[in-house]
């Protein structure tokens, strides 16, 4: 057997895939996540669809992979004390509720034969919004730096509706005294996304923490990773026990490629300008989103599909 076609049989997905393709995919997404400092789940899951992994397996396995790839990150942040444990716990409680809800929705739609649609549609919507916003923002930033000087607009802390809600709590590390309802809701929302899309949800949580909750940037990444690692672990266990769709062989192959790729990516990332990186990432997100959207919109070559029976 030639090295180039080293097929490996995935025991849970029940398909044969080239092992180097998986390592390569893991590596590629790893490079990107290292370059841009994102988790990469939102890129990996759709790529797994494209190479023929069943969506249910892709989502569950990706959740498993995110736990592992975030692990060293969380440890580093805990050591540097850039985790707001109290805020993290509130987000986590919400996240666990959300993940449970998400898996219930997932399994319900799976029984109805609509889970592929749910996953793909969620991806199109979120990748479209996030990619679009990022693209516009980074274009604006590029233009600003080109307009010389680049006088940074200082941001005022506004007193919004968030500060008028009950059940206020003191979050010392973040220096906040706010209601627990917004972080709880953010957690629930991210938990649902984690269960349905197989993502950590950092791309939603980080902006929400900065703009909605007003947390200081220095604790945002560590705190979100802290929440993500527990929520995705919980999601993995829920999928493993209700759907039997976690493929450990697939996860390990993606992971090994991913970790090595991330190290290379971090190095490339430090040599590039932040605005350039952002616009590249935005373009990439939009391309993946466009491909998924086309699959939903164009007449498929085969309008019939097979599923296991007995879901009603």
């Amino acid at each position: 057997m030639a090295i180039g076609d080293m097929l490996i049989y995935l025991p849970i997905a029940e398909v044969s895939v080239n092992a180097f393709l998986l390592l390569g995919l893991g590596g590629m997404v790893g490079v990107l996540s290292g370059m841009f400092g994102v988790g990469g789940g939102f890129l990996m899951t759709p790529l797994l669809f494209f190479i023929g992994i069943p969506p249910a397996v892709a989502v569950a396995t990706e959740a498993n992979q995110i736990v592992a790839s975030s692990f060293s990150g969380v440890l580093a942040h805990l050591r540097r004390k850039t985790v707001d444990l109290k805020m993290g716990t509130v987000l986590l409680v919400g996240g666990l509720i959300g993940a449970a809800l998400g898996v219930v929705i997932f399994n319900y739609l799976k029984a109805m034969g609509q889970v592929d649609l749910l996953v793909r549609l969620s991806y199109v919507v979120f990748l479209g919004i996030v990619g679009g916003l990022m693209f516009i923002e980074s274009l604006r930033a590029l233009r600003k730096t080109r307009a010389a000087g680049g006088a940074s607009v200082s941001e005022r802390r506004k007193h919004t509706w968030v500060h008028n809600l009950p059940f206020k709590m003191k979050f010392r590390v973040s220096g906040l005294y706010i209601s627990v309802i917004p972080p709880l809701l953010v957690g629930v929302f991210v938990g649902i996304l984690s269960a349905i899309m197989g993502v950590g949800g950092g791309f939603i949580m980080v902006p929400a923490m900065i703009y909605l909750l007003g947390m200081p940037t220095k604790v945002v990444v560590g705190t979100s990773l802290f929440q993500i690692i527990f929520v995705t672990a919980f999601t993995t266990l829920l999928h493993a026990t209700t759907n039997f769709t976690v493929d450990i062989v697939l996860a390990v192959l993606l992971l090994v490629g991913g970790v090595i790729g991330a190290q290379i990516g971090t190095r490339i990332g430090t040599r590039m300008k932040a605005e350039q990186l952002r616009i590249l990432l935005a373009a990439l997100v939009l391309v993946v989103c466009g491909k998924l959207a086309l699959d939903l919109l164009l007449t498929p070559s085969e309008i019939y599909s097979l599923g296991t029976a007995g879901g009603h």
Partner: protein
């Protein structure tokens, strides 16, 4: 050598007028981590005490069927601009794998009456009881099932793929794809004269995951919580190990 062995077996057995004696290149298929499909050679001889009848046409049909399972066939339709699964038909029994090999085109090798009796061709191997009220073209769903599985190499119709020599020795080869379902694969050999079945031989080939593949699969079904926890532990260890190894290499 093999032929002599088969002939020897032919002479050693008691019999009907014409009878199938069979050999298999393997009677089990092991799905390992590097499994990428497998070939099975099915060979045998026709045993008879009288001279070969000259007045009728002898043919051999081989049917290999994987374990049957119920399947839901869904059809997409455009709803608000996007393609959504709309109609569904439950097929009660569909083999996960099915190959029919014959020594002549199927219409000469087998009469339709005999197909109805023994369920040999692919459409006959699929059992569909009824479609829901809103679906009027249930056959289209069964046809789609056959088309999709045929496209994946799971359903194969191989006419003229059985070599029949001197009306006595026959052999055929089935290529099993990589995405196989576990279980016993029912293997039937039909001997036909002018399309009428004169003898049937039935055996079974075991297809099983083995080693690590089997262990992981069984654990994920029987002890899903332990499997889930183990997956997390392994993934964390692998991720940590890989990054530690990379850091070590950097120094």
């Amino acid at each position: 050598m093999l032929r002599w062995l088969v002939l020897f077996m032919v002479l050693a057995l008691p019999l009907r007028a014409e009878q199938v004696v069979l050999g298999l290149s393997r009677d089990e298929v092991a799905i390992t981590a590097t499994f990428d499909g497998s070939d099975i050679l099915i060979f045998g001889a026709i045993k008879r005490e009288e001279p070969i009848p000259e007045d009728s046409n002898l043919e051999v049909i081989i049917a290999l069927a994987g374990p049957s399972e119920p399947i839901t066939v869904r059809r997409k339709d455009r709803v608000a601009g996007i393609w959504v699964n709309v109609d569904a038909v439950e097929v009660d029994e569909a083999p996960s794998f099915y190959a029919v090999l014959s020594s002549a085109p199927m219409e000469t090798a087998l009469r339709q009456v005999e197909d109805l009796r023994h369920d040999i061709t692919i459409p006959r191997a699929i059992r569909s009881v009824g479609a829901p009220m809103n679906v009027t073209d249930a056959e289209a769903f069964t046809e789609a099932l056959i088309r999709i599985r045929a496209g994946a190499g799971l359903y194969q119709v191989l006419e003229n793929a059985v070599d029949l020599e001197e009306d006595t020795l026959f052999r055929g080869q089935v290529t099993l794809p990589a995405n196989l379902t576990e279980g016993p694969y029912r293997t039937r050999i039909f001997l036909t004269r002018d399309g009428n079945v004169v003898d049937i031989y039935e055996t079974s080939i075991a297809v099983n995951k083995v080693g690590l593949e089997r262990w992981l699969y069984e654990l994920s079904r029987n002890q899903p919580l332990i499997y889930g926890l183990m997956s997390l532990a392994i993934a964390i260890a692998a991720g940590w190990g890989a990054s530690a190894a990379f850091r070590l290499l950097q120094r």
